[in-house]
Subunit: 218 residues, 2 copies
Amino acid sequence: MFTLAEENYLKTIFHLEHDSMCEVTTNAIAESIETKPSSVTDMVQKLAEKKMLTYKRYKGVQLTEEGKKVAAGVVRKHRLWEVFLVEKLHFHWDEVHEIAEQLEHIQSEELITRLDQFLGSPDFDPHGDPIPDKHGVLKRTEKKLLSEIEKNEQGVCVGVKESSPEFLQYLDKKKISIGTKISVLGKEFFDGSMIIQVGTEQFFISIKIAENLYVQTS
Amino acid sequence: MFTLAEENYLKTIFHLEHDSMCEVTTNAIAESIETKPSSVTDMVQKLAEKKMLTYKRYKGVQLTEEGKKVAAGVVRKHRLWEVFLVEKLHFHWDEVHEIAEQLEHIQSEELITRLDQFLGSPDFDPHGDPIPDKHGVLKRTEKKLLSEIEKNEQGVCVGVKESSPEFLQYLDKKKISIGTKISVLGKEFFDGSMIIQVGTEQFFISIKIAENLYVQTS
DNA sequence: AATTATTTTTAGGTTTAACTAAAAATATAA
DNA sequence: TTATATTTTTAGTTAAACCTAAAAATAATT
Ligand SMILES: [Mn+2]
Ligand SMILES: [Mn+2]
Ligand SMILES: [Mn+2]
Ligand SMILES: [Mn+2]
């Protein structure tokens, strides 16, 4: 099996590959995982020996099929636990990530099988992120960033890119959650800021907000 | 906070103190935790510096009040998770200990508060062991070992001393679980073996069984 | 009381996963 | 193209938690 540190590296590389759609650099991993590049080099060499990823010096890494499977397993556990915390223990969506970071490393196939059943085999976590199935397959849904929406268009919030407590609390304050309808009333060329309508309220948001909210346009 | 290893040592010493009712030796800890006595000495010196226990060379250790509190916290988490696994995920009572060994180390006050509520603040775990309250207080219930019961007396099974899968599966086979009424029909002086009645069945048990079953005599 | 046996500790070593500092490779700019 | 900047790797340390082997303390026998 894999150590806690190994699992964290695989998961992080998995996320970075999804974001950048190409090889992942040492520095990118170091920043995500909040460690030093030299530590990343060490671990990446270890994971390459274990055939979890391919690694060429100075050229970044790429997960193997096996590596992707292991990583998806960790992501699956993380997101299922987040659902449990919100649905069953009534945590708020900005409180669960930290705890799920620990729970994702509990080793027991049977536990996850039963947890999944107990939760009714959910497809998405509380932040709108898809939950990989038991084989590590992630079903892709089409969603755009709110920042990609044009003036006078509208969409339904289906997820967040960032899931820091700060951002989620901002969304709460603005009454935005998964399922909320958002209309773009105005969009500023210069800085990408927008005027949007949520329910009966209309207000200004910066590009930083718009770039971290996923919406689905029907 | 405490590391996983530190928590395991504190928990183990807590259990040993309860069993032996006096100072706990290095070898006893080593055996329980499946490690070498020299490793125990190292850790015990560290925990003494942290004021979790008192330690005099060659004289064994004793938990401080603070040490007992921390240990009871780990036991509380362990047992609450066991209840969750059995009551909510429908695990069998012989399958939960291993998983709870991992879950007991998840760090989050709030999580345990909510888990406890979710489970209806149970007083006992699936093996009949009492769950410490949030202040680390264990309410003592009077129970005897089945081996202490005399011929023609009877009792209700309220817990197990051992909780290895092998023993629990033996009990299942014999239809003994928490709440089961057991009558002692015969008792052999020489080896402590017994003939007992469970439901309509009567059968022979060795002292090893009788010494690991807790019963309450009304 | 002296010898032997057991328990416990110390000393020194290993592994994992970090770190710092310096060297090497690659990328960017002049 | 050469010089400079950035990224990445290597080399050498550190800390936690384990180990083995040997020494020291305590307990049990003769
Ligand atoms: Mn993690
Ligand atoms: Mn999430
Ligand atoms: Mn443990
Ligand atoms: Mn138990």
